[in-house]
């Protein structure tokens, strides 16, 4: 019993032999890695390396995707995510930020209040408190506090991306997945979000997929390098960037020789 608890304390997420296929195409081959509590794990690699598929497998989005097939084991706090009876409760614990900002076509308020409402919070005062707290943490409150009832989907790209972070925080997640969040966001907003992520690390575990190598260097405690569906290597970010790498391909990628 004690040992089990120590195990779960060491790994927030254990991934073993994860293989993902879309029909005949293999997107990810036999990946095993651990994510530690309260770390930021960076995942880098060129397009079509399986980074996004990896994230989608964690919150079981494969079940909503025709043709996506996942095998292997992903355990969150020691429990295989496939064994969660209530997939919705599982997904509520995992915040997701997408590459292109997705402000839902609801008001700013309703965007952030959606997840609390789904889990049964309905009284106005609690919702207002959650919305203000999450928007503040996402550094968006001051810009939108006077127009909470205008559409979230009409905010600028940078604001929408912070709105999606606020929305993810409203789930009170203990795992936050970010998929190339800065693709459609200006550099200033990117820096603000990076600062937010550094603070959030205190409260949750973060997996940051990025194709900006320097972003991984700035933020990630450890970094994994995916290439064409293989996990080439994973290690402390400093080691990777100090060229203490095990695989030549990692150096080649980091130095911009491909990808």
């Amino acid at each position: 019993m004690v040992e089990v608890e120590r195990d779960t304390a060491v790994s927030k997420l254990e991934v073993e032999g994860l293989t993902i296929r879309y029909g005949e195409t293999v997107a990810l081959k036999d990946v095993s890695l651990d994510v530690r509590p309260n770390e930021i794990l960076g995942i880098i690699g060129p397009a079509n390396s399986g980074k996004t598929s990896f994230l989608r497998a964690i919150n079981r989005m494969d079940e909503m995707t025709d043709g996506m097939h996942v095998s292997g084991r992903i355990a969150l706090d020691g429990t295989d995510v496939r064994r969660w009876r209530n997939v919705y409760a599982l997904r509520r614990r995992i915040g997701v930020v997408f590459p292109l900002p997705v402000g839902l076509p609801l008001s700013i308020f309703d965007n952030v209040a959606l997840s609390p409402r789904l889990r049964g919070v309905h009284d106005r005062a609690s919702l207002e408190e959650i919305v203000e707290r999450c928007l503040t943490r996402a550094a968006l409150w001051d810009e939108v506090k006077d127009r909470l009832h205008s559409l979230g989907s009409l905010l600028s790209g940078g604001q929408q991306q912070r709105l999606t972070i606020a929305r993810a925080l409203s789930q009170e997640p203990d795992l936050l997945l970010l998929d190339e969040f800065s693709i459609a966001v200006d550099p200033v907003t990117t820096m603000r979000i990076e600062d937010i992520l550094k603070e959030l690390r205190e409260e949750m575990t973060i997996i940051l997929v990025t194709n900006l190598v320097q972003q991984a260097r700035r933020l990630a405690d450890r970094t994994a390098f995916f290439l064409k569906g293989d996990l080439v290597e994973v290690g402390p970010t400093e080691d990777l960037f100090m060229r203490r790498v095990r695989d030549r391909r990692t150096t080649d990628y980091l130095e911009g020789r491909f990808g």
Binding site: Y88, G95, L104, P105, L106, L114, L151, R167
Partner: protein, 291 residues
């Protein structure tokens, strides 16, 4: 070489541009011409009949005089009952096909079947209606049987229109909602449906305007030549505009020339009115840009 560096090629491109623009414009004009001619003809020949009495009185004197009230009421009745049957069914089926059904062979076959159903001639639907609703379910020739026949006939329109407007809602919204822990139904109710309702309603109104004009599906299932009373229940037979037009033009001797034109004009006016409601509706809802 002319001024401003325009080459011969530039000039010939510009001539060709003008020619094609003119060609496409002329084709469009050609399309509008019959509409104007038909409407003009109907107004020209039929306007003398229009009066308050025309809309509020029963036909008299072997259909040669009086008004069209029972046909007008009957058509509205038929359309309302048809909508009542086809909209819930069609919208539910479209939601299933668009939001739940896996993309597999069966789903594709069902979609193909729906598109084919839309191509079935209305007289075939009429025969189906006689067999299924009039005889098998024993509704007799009645509003119910006729409306259900119309409903079956227009179901593909509702399904296709609904499915298209559901699919116009970006997939990213669904994924964002699912990742928040929403079920498919919560996502449909809170995100997908509110943003596709304008398209669905447009489809419904188009369906109505098609239903109004149909003759074949109702002539064996519920429409009748003449009834002295307005329909009181769905088991009554009824007069209908389209069928009335058919009978007074082909079956009744001695009908004044203007009468069929006035009936036809009224029928077209209903359709045009419904279509403009649909267009206005779409404009209002499109004006509110959501993303």
């Amino acid at each position: 070489m002319s001024a401003f560096g325009a080459t011969d090629l530039d000039l010939s491109n510009r001539r060709r541009e003008r020619a094609f623009r003119g060609l496409f414009g002329a084709m469009t004009a050609l399309l509008i011409l019959p509409v104007i001619l038909i409407l003009g003809m109907l107004v020209w020949k039929g306007h003398s009949v229009f009066s308050l009495e025309f809309f509020l009185a029963h036909p008299r004197n072997g259909m040669t005089e009086g008004g069209i009230l029972p046909a007008l009421v009957g058509t509205l009745y038929l359309v309302a009952v048809a909508l009542f049957a086809s909209v819930p069914l069609g919208v539910a089926a479209a939601i299933y096909l668009s939001e739940y059904a896996p993309d597999n062979l069966l789903t594709r076959l069902i979609n193909l079947a729906i598109i084919n159903l839309a191509g079935v001639p209305s007289i075939v639907h009429a025969l189906f209606g006689v067999g299924a609703f009039v005889l098998f379910f024993d509704f007799g020739t009645s509003i119910l049987a006729a409306s259900l026949t119309l409903a079956v006939m227009t179901l593909p329109v509702v399904i296709v229109a609904t499915r298209e407007s559901l699919q116009a809602v970006p997939q990213a919204f669904r994924e964002a909602s699912w990742s928040l822990g929403a079920t498919r139904w919560q996502t449909i109710r809170r995100i997908v449906l509110p943003n596709s309702v304008s398209g669905i309603l447009t489809g419904v109104i188009l369906e109505v305007s098609r239903t109004v004009g149909e003759t074949a599906p109702i002539m064996f299932t519920g429409a009748t030549f003449y009834v002295a009373f307005l329909p009181m229940s769905v088991f009554d037979q009824t007069m209908a505009m389209s069928y009335h037009l058919y009978t007074i033009t082909t079956q009744v001797p001695g009908v004044p020339e203007a009468l069929p034109f006035a009936v036809a004009l009224t029928l077209i006016a209903i359709v045009l009115l419904l279509n403009s409601v649909s267009i206005a509706f779409r404009m209002v809802l499109r004006g509110k840009k959501k993303w």
